[in-house]
Amino acid sequence: MTRRGFISLLPAAAAPLQPQIFSLAWQKLLALGGFGDVRLLDPQTKAVIATLGPHAEAVRAVAFSSAGNRLAAAGGRPGLKGELRIWDVEARQPVATAQGHSDCIYGVAVSPDGALVATGSYDKLVKLWDAASGREVRTLKDHIDAVYAVAFTPDGKHLLSGAADRTVKVWNVATGERLFTLSEPADGVNAIALHPSGKMVAAGGLDKTIRLWALGERAGELRNTLIAHEDAILQLAWSPDGKTLISASADKLIKVFEASTLAEQKSIRQPDWVTGLKFSPDGGRFAAGRYDGSLTVYDMGAL
């Protein structure tokens, strides 16, 4: 608030004081999707190690490969086109650049074997790309509104997508077939998070509600529902040990839940909307990046 108050006194056309954060990923390094680039940070010192760019407009989704050697960064121009760039993290060089969506990309995920990248876009489509060449592998078409989140199951066989059409869909990666749809949400889905086992998925969105489903081969079963926030849920993350689920909402709170019961353990006030929320690979910490550019790393032990 004080930051904006300060800016309002500046003459028109003042640039933001610190780069905004539109997305966040955490492997060995922290990746922050910004406007026109991605910054790689040392998670300990938060020092910027490298800047990857250029990107068209804001980078609204970032994801590391499980080995941490590749970074998929996606965004594009709203209303015009999507853009996906795959970076060699070590070399800080682009491996491939893909263009194919007709609106910007909001969700990105790298398959566990690192061979595929999935993207979800405002153009209602989910696309699978060859991670090495950037070639489009196939388009998954069934959502009827913007797709905000995508995730691979740990076995790499299935892809999940959450969209503004109030559904989470489960796809067969090899064939592109839509296997089933989780249609309980009462409003658009903004975020999904998979249990590390791949057997459960959490979704949240405009209906302020977290829902947990057990995933079967041909159907999902709703296991738990909680009206968790007073405004739309923006981000969800599941801890690597599967015990903790965290959520961030437009009500400017991050909440920490015991995942099996959805019992609320902690509520942390935020200065602005959280645009990226991820656990560290060891699960000991989580990072929250915000629209206003601020970044906080929370220690699970010190909450």
């Binding site: 904006r4 800016i7 309002s8 500046l10 905004q20 407009e57 209303g79 910007c104 739309a232 909307w273």
Partner: protein, 806 residues
């Protein structure tokens, strides 16, 4: 234009509007209007005036009269037209202070004016293409989050404001289903662009709010084809004044008289009067544009309308401003019939008509009015009318309490209970609804939402339903005000009484209504009245009743005065009669204000109001048009002809034929207007539009004509059975052996309240006498006469003259 100016009479007068102006920020502007007045007529000469500033270091003015601040201080801006000059004083403040566009004060008005948040676009319930704004911007905080944050902030690009989707779409930089809304070189585009560049400062509770609007000019008299610009200024809660014309939503209530464009330029299209409604930031006012008819009307024409009280003064003033000549006063016969029907829903009897026509005293009309107001039928008529308003019916009330409610209303009319007490008695009472009929109001309207919407409609003429879900798009009421009002009724308790149907109404000491989005109760408050604290233990209904019936409450008295006026005059000063919202301008504001003032000064006395209306020359004017007022149905230059209601027609048929209608469950002789309940079976009444008393809406009573009505009157057995009844008037005439001439007079007097004309008398007497010539038995002769008489009465009772009030 130049030609017009050269022709302008020398005695024309020039003025600059507004006469003083304030520019409180470096981005403030003020459009000035140069208005020339010659006689009754105005002319907007802004465009041809030569404008100058006394001190260009303080403010400059361009050729179109727009004043721009330069430095703090005062300057005089002068318009020079045709050798005449006039000035406005301008004060400039904060000219060197840094300035930022505000979300609430600038960006929202820009988006609203551009139509982004209108119902057909992103203001729709489902939004458009994933982007949803609140309808006409009723919730700036929510819109702010949607614009800057939602969908990962896709709509705003802080790092590259011009690339923001919001601006790209609105300026059609990329394809947009809504088309071009903001031109790139416009001020509106610049406002949004600079606001983004400044980091999108959010709305705050400290933002100044608009407290009032002013229009310049407020009134203008123009000729068809002429144009007039209207400037609108907003007054803010921090005392600031701003020219907000460019963001105002303009509309004309009569496009046959005046059209208005999006920027407040009015073009007169015809003769008459139009209200130009100005909406900005949930505030509404109107400017009146008049174009007098081109008739030649002399003083003698106007003097045909006698000035009996202030009503006539105001009506005459309006007629003079429009060059409409009033019709002459109605004949005694027409007056008497009209007065009986309007005040009591009955026809005068033949004897009453004869006596009245024969009477010679100068004040016989006033006397007749006084007598009428003391009759039981007057009580029946108004009890029926208020029962319509209060929705008395056995549909949701058991008969015992339906009767209690009706009797309470009838007793109130009988004692001429002041209207404020009538309302107060409902809203401050507690106890058994069997014993105190007024309390059945709370049996019909059980929850705070229903109570809020009914009370505002019934007693205030305000339609609040829109505001249940969002700020009223065309009115001043906000959703917040709606739920503050609803919370006044959160503590009305109801429990079962001593017998079936009876309920006990009591005040609970807890309970609140939540605002649906804020998810918390707001301090209870009557529309724009004082709030009660949430923890106050005062009875909220009493607080409401106090505000409702306060002499200063403009809606309460306007609503009832307008209803009573419409009953007599055929059209409310505000039309529809129960739509007393600010955007619905009265046809004669001064008259309505005078009636309201008089009504309040006389302690909300309905009978006084009725007496004042009925005694006016305006009420007693003929329904026949003259050469000037054929098309007038609004300014009361002639009496507006109206169809009788079903109840009145049925009772009048009973009265003339001498055969009462029978209503199941009611004693013989009960008139339709004496029924307490609309559930009583009567096809005749249903066909003629009897209201169901389910929702409070004057339109519930249908006055539309239908084939079924015509068939019912002509072929139906309602009238025919009455005509042929063995104990009816027709049979009685024959039994008494009255002469044909006397019978004819009697029927004319009782049905039309007049004697037949020669042109009517001759053929009708001929027809009656022909029936005497029938040969055969005495029975057959009697039968032929009866048949002829019935036919004659049938002709009269199915005629327009019978079915209408004129």
């Amino acid at each position: 234009m130049i030609l017009l100016l050269l022709c302008a009479p020398l005695w024309s007068q020039l003025s600059v509007l507004p006469p003083t102006a304030e520019l409180s920020t470096i981005e403030s502007r003020q459009q000035l209007i140069a208005e020339s007045t010659a006689g009754a007529f105005h002319q907007d000469v802004t465009a041809t005036a030569a404008w100058s500033s006394s001190d260009p270091r303080v403010a400059t003015v361009d050729a179109s009269g727009v004043v721009k601040p330069v430095g703090d201080g005062e300057a005089v801006i002068t318009a020079l037209v045709n050798g005449q000059s006039s000035s406005a004083k301008v004060r400039v403040k904060n000219a060197t202070q840094p300035f930022t566009w505000s979300f609430r004060g600038h960006v929202m008005p820009v988006l609203t004016k551009a139509g982004c948040n209108q119902g057909a676009c992103h203001g729709a319930q489902a939004g458009k293409n994933g982007f949803k704004l609140t309808l006409r911007g009723y919730d700036p905080e929510l819109d702010y989050d949607v614009l800057t944050r939602q969908s990962a902030g896709r709509r705003i690009s802080l790092s590259d404001p011009g690339a923001s989707l919001l601006l790209q779409k609105a300026s059609f930089g990329i394809p947009h289903g809504g088309g071009l809304r903001l031109k790139k070189d416009s001020l509106d585009y610049r406002i949004v662009h600079e606001w983004i560049a400044a980091g999108t400062p959010p709305p705050s509770d400290r933002d100044a709010e608009v407290t009032a609007l002013e229009a310049f000019p407020r009134q203008a008299t123009l000729k068809p084809g002429q144009e007039q610009n209207i400037v609108v200024r907003a007054r803010y809660s921090d005392g600031r004044l701003e020219d907000v014309t460019r963001w105002v939503k303009f509309s004309s209530n009569n496009e046959g008289v005046a059209l208005v464009d999006d920027y407040g330029k009015v073009r007169m299209t015809g003769h008459g009067e139009a209200a130009i409604t100005l909406w900005y930031s949930s505030k509404i006012i109107y400017a009146r544009m008049t174009s007098p008819y081109s008739h030649e009307v002399s003083e003698a024409d106007y003097s045909r309308l006698p000035r009996r009280n202030y009503i006539d003064d105001h009506v005459l003033a309006k007629l003079k401003s429009l060059n409409l000549a009033p019709s002459p006063q109605a004949t005694d016969a027409a007056f008497l019939r009209r007065a009986y029907l309007d005040a009591a829903g009955i026809l005068p009897s033949a004897e009453e008509v004869e006596q009245f026509l024969a009477a010679k005293s100068a004040d016989k009309r006033s006397k007749a009015i006084e007598q009428l107001l003391e009759r039981d039928e007057y009580v029946d008529y108004w009890a029926y009318k208020w029962s319509d308003l209060m929705l008395v019916s056995s549909r949701r009330l058991r008969p015992n309490v339906m009767w209690s409610f009706y009797n309470w209303i009838r007793d109130s009319v009988k004692e001429n209970k002041p209207w404020d007490r009538f309302a107060r008695d409902i809203f401050t009472a507690s106890g058994s609804s069997r014993q105190n009929g007024a309390l059945n109001y709370f049996q019909l309207h059980k929850d705070p939402i229903d109570l809020t919407e009914n009370v505002t409609q019934a007693f205030l003429g305000q339609r609040l339903t829109c505001a249940r879900c969002h700020n009223h798009p065309l009115e001043k009421w906000t959703q917040k005000q709606y739920y503050q009002m609803a919370n006044l009724f959160a503590r009305v308790g109801i429990k079962n009484g001593n017998e079936p149907g009876d309920v006990i109404v009591f005040a609970k000491n807890e309970g609140d209504v939540n605002h649906p989005r804020l998810l918390r109760p707001l301090p209870p408050s009557p529309l724009d009245g004082e709030s009660l604290a949430l923890d106050s233990d005062a009875d909220r209904r009493v607080h409401f009743a106090k505000w409702l019936t306060d002499p200063g409450n403009p809606y309460f008295s306007r609503a009832i005065v307008n209803r009573v006026w419409a009953n007599f005059m055929g059209r409310g000063l505000i039309d529809p009669v129960d739509d007393v919202r600010e955007a619905n301008a009265p046809s004669n504001e001064e008259l309505l204000n005078a009636l309201v003032k008089d009504f309040v000064a006389h302690g909300f006395d309905i009978k006084h109001l009725i007496r004042t209306i009925m005694n006016s020359g305006t009420y007693q004017v003929s329904s026949e048009s003259n050469a000037t007022n054929q098309s007038d149905g609004v300014y009361y230059s002639k009496y507006i002809v109206k169809r009788l209601t079903g109840e009145v027609i049925l009772d009048a048929m009973s009265q003339v034929t001498g055969v009462p209608s029978s209503f199941s469950g009611y004693p013989a002789g009960t008139r339709a207007l004496q029924l307490p309940d609309v559930q009583v079976q009567s096809e005749f009444l249903s066909v003629f539009g009897r209201p169901k008393r389910v929702i409070c809406d004057a339109a519930e009573r249908s006055m539309d004509p239908s084939i079924a009505q015509a068939l019912h009157v002509i072929n139906g057995d309602t009238l025919n059975k009455k005509l042929s009844a063995s104990d009816g008037t027709a049979a009685l005439f024959l039994k008494l052996g009255l002469s044909d001439a006397r019978i004819l007079d009697h029927v004319f007097l009782s049905a039309y309240s007049r004697y037949p004309t020669e042109a009517e008398r001759t053929p009708m007497l001929a027809a009656l006498s022909k029936a005497r010539e029938v040969k055969g038995s005495t029975e057959a002769q009697k039968e032929a006469r009866r048949q002829a008489l019935e036919d004659m009465m049938w002709v009269m009772l199915t005629s327009k003259e019978f079915l209408f009030n004129y």
